[in-house]
């Protein structure tokens, strides 16, 4: 799960990580008031969206006066900000973070994430902030310092100070920054983060470290033990169909094509998208209705596909295995009839009683094309598209 920068900074503050003085605004008037109350100049106005690349998209502006704050706020609030990371639809800007601009002497990158192949948390640091760390780490690995954390003993003091010395930070700053690294690690562990990032962490003219930006992602699997984090979710930043899907525990991701896919299991769902693409068509979505598909999940899946106007053909690919295909086929027919599915539907079912299941689909009188096997299904999907 993602949260906004201002929410992450509030958590930073609670853990003792220094952040710039700031105020929030949701209207131009509030922006002017916030700028006035901060009482300093220049200030930085930052659009709060769940995506990076905000500077490039015009979502970060330096201003001098409350009047300017009001003007910039009226330009940003209520719009959808498009950045290199949002896609063309952008993300809605509903909140602005207005911060004091700091005098920056040096800036560094500091992040904590999980190293999958080593099965441990890692602290990453490098000179110069602003880059996308995974990319940077892949392209210039020698420039990124990595400290592997033994989960049995946690981050050790020598590791935190080693990062500071390797970053060539002033000796006088080592103690402060070590403390900050410890605080970030504690936050990462206690809140079950998947990523905790300060990019950049800056040193001010006064010799103090300050987190100029803040990014926290959380492990979805651990949210059950963090109601305070769930409360930070902002669904306006998510695709409405994806939000709807998550209510029924379905995994749905909107894509650009016109073949609506409903599949059980994430791997098979991805393979089905690949299959469609190879056959010369484009998937409209990724939709995993769960390995143990039921008539209910099929029904909810149908609703999602029908709500997407781009969908021209529906492809249902369910490998039931233990599930009985006749029960499943009845569920598919019932849902399609009730929801008046008017689009051509290619159905590929596999599992116990598969012949019976196919018979039920063929006898339903609905627009089902029954496919056997993936290759056959791909051909029938493409044929369904060209018949329109």
């Amino acid at each position: 799960m993602k949260i906004h920068e201002y929410q992450a900074k509030a958590l930073f503050k609670a853990y003792g990580i220094p952040i710039p003085r700031s105020a929030l605004a949701q209207t131009p008037a509030e922006a002017a008031k916030a700028a006035h109350e901060l009482g300093t100049s220049p200030l930085v106005v930052k659009a709060q969206i769940h995506a990076g690349g905000r500077g490039k998209g015009g979502g970060i502006r330096v201003i001098g006066t409350p009047a300017e704050a009001e003007m910039v706020a009226s330009q940003l609030l209520g719009t959808r900000l498009v950045t290199p990371q949002t896609g063309e639809e952008g993300r809605p800007v509903e909140t602005l973070l207005i911060e004091e601009a700091l005098t920056i002497v040096t800036e560094v990158y500091l992040g904590i994430t999980i190293d999958r192949s080593r099965s441990c948390p890692v602290v990453l640091a490098s000179k110069g902030g602003g880059m996308e760390v995974e990319k940077f780490a892949a392209e210039e690995p020698h420039k990124v310092m990595i400290e592997e954390i033994d989960p049995a003993v946690g981050l050790r003091p020598f590791q935190a100070s080693r990062i500071c010395y390797d970053l060539n930070l002033q000796a006088s700053a080592v103690r402060k920054i070590s403390g900050l690294i410890f605080a970030l690690y504690q936050l990462f562990i206690e809140k079950d983060c998947s990523l905790a990032e300060i990019n950049p962490l800056v040193m001010t003219g006064m010799g103090d470290p300050v987190a100029l930006d803040a990014k926290l992602n959380f492990d979805d699997n651990a949210l059950f033990r963090h109601p305070e984090i769930i409360a930070l979710r902002d669904i306006s930043q998510e695709n409405p169909l994806e939000v709807e899907a998550s209510r029924y525990n379905l995994n749905y991701i909107k894509l650009k094509g016109n073949v609506g896919c409903m599949v059980n299991g994430a791997g098979l769902a991805m393979a089905t998208m690949d299959l469609i693409k190879r056959a010369g068509a484009e998937p409209a979505n990724f939709l995993d209705i769960g390995g143990g598909a039921t008539a209910e999940t099929v029904r909810e899946g149908f609703k999602l596909l029908l709500a997407d106007r781009d969908v021209q053909v529906i492809f249902i690919n369910i490998f039931g295995g233990i599930l009985r295909c006749d029960t499943l086929a009845r569920g598919v027919v019932k849902a399609a009839a009730e929801l008046v599915v008017d689009l051509p539907m290619v159905v590929r079912l596999e599992g116990t009683n598969v012949e019976k299941g196919r018979q039920i689909l063929s006898d339903s009188g609905l627009k089902f094309t029954v496919a056997s096997g993936l290759k056959d299904a791909a051909e029938k999907v493409v044929a369904g598209l060209s018949s329109r």
Binding site: Q85, I114, R116, S117, S119, C120, P121, E132, V133, E134, K135, F136, A138, E139, D150, P151, A152, I189, D192, S194, D219, D220, N221, A222, F224, R225, N251, I253, L255, V263, N264, G265, A266, G267, L268, A269, M270, A271, T272, M273, D274, L275, I276, K277, R278, P283, F286, D288, G291, F319, G320, G321, I322, E350, G351, T352, G373, L374, K375, A378
Partner: protein, 292 residues
């Protein structure tokens, strides 16, 4: 032969009295798996379909000689259940649970250091040595005993591949679902090592997906140490970056984990990479028929 489990495997089920645990215990027994014990704290002394239930894994192992465990325990308690099985020196632990927090699994992995237990999963359909033993939730009947090993990160996609093979009359030695989470027990690399040593496995199919570098690590082992054919498929070539595709592990971040990069890496290492998921069975058949 086969890897990890066979006719000698004696299975205990942690969470045997839950809905999933009881349903799949019956399916496993129908398939012929020797289930010798169940563990549900608080229900020790009771039985399930004639199988004795114990409060603790240690009691179950001491009393029944169980050497493998199937874990059907809710996510919040699953990490502890794995550690209990490791502590009781169970040889093979299969954790079917989906949704375990990543930091919990990191503790589990640290706890397992230097211990003999081999962990499969979590978030896996399980493992099956066709005709011998099944520990998991996959449908037994789609499998056929034979000489192809399979390792996969996903569930139903594995059924798809197994089905393609079985329909071509190509049987399987063992099929292992390694799990779709970021932090798992045995990896593709570990499974390839086991298949390489298994005299009854002729070739291996690995079914990977976007995210992480597990396929690449397996490919390095393959190019340096392996004599058997490996056929690979990587799901998610059409997946957008930065989005989690169902599995917690299936996310492309920055430059790492993309399907194209993975496929290029695997091909360079000499694996036979299948691009069309509908042609995995055909490709294996062609390789088996051709000159070795």
């Amino acid at each position: 032969m086969s890897i990890l489990i066979d006719q000698q495997t004696r299975v205990l089920v942690q969470g045997i009295t839950g809905a999933e645990g009881s349903f799949h215990t019956r399916r496993m027994m129908e398939y012929g798996t020797t289930v010798v014990a169940g563990v549900t704290p608080g229900k020790g002394g009771q039985t399930f379909d004639g199988i004795p239930i114990f409060h603790t894994v240690r009691d179950a192992v001491l009393n029944t000689g169980a050497n493998a465990s199937a874990i059907f325990v809710p996510p919040a308690f699953a990490a502890d259940a794995i550690m209990e099985a490791v502590d009781a020196r169970v040889d093979v632990v299969v954790c079917l649970t989906e949704g375990i927090p990543t930091l919990d699994m990191i503790s589990v992995k640290r706890y397992m250091n230097g211990k003999k237990t081999r962990l499969i999963g979590p978030n896996t359909p399980g493992i099956i040595s066709p005709g011998k033993c099944k520990i998991g939730v996959m449908a037994g009947y789609i499998h056929l005993p034979g000489r192809i090993g399979i390792a996969s990160r996903s569930g139903t996609l594995t059924y798809e591949v197994v089905n393609q093979l079985t329909k071509l009359d190509i049987g399987q030695s063992t099929c292992v679902g390694i799990g779709g989470d970021p932090v798992i027990g045995l990896t593709f690399l570990d499974i390839l090592q086991l298949f390489e040593e298994d005299r009854d496995t002729d070739a291996v199919v690995i079914i990977g997906e976007i995210g992480g570098t597990a396929e690449e690590e397996a490919a390095e082992f393959f190019s340096q140490r392996m004599s058997k054919h490996v056929i690979a498929f990587v799901a998610g070539i059409t997946a957008p970056a930065g989005r989690r595709m169902g599995h917690a592990g299936a996310i492309v971040s920055g430059g790492a984990g993309g399907a194209r990069e993975k496929i290029a890496f695997l091909e360079k290492a000499g694996m036979t990479v299948v691009k069309n998921p509908g042609e995995i069975g055909d490709t294996v058949a062609r390789l088996l028929a051709g000159p070795a």
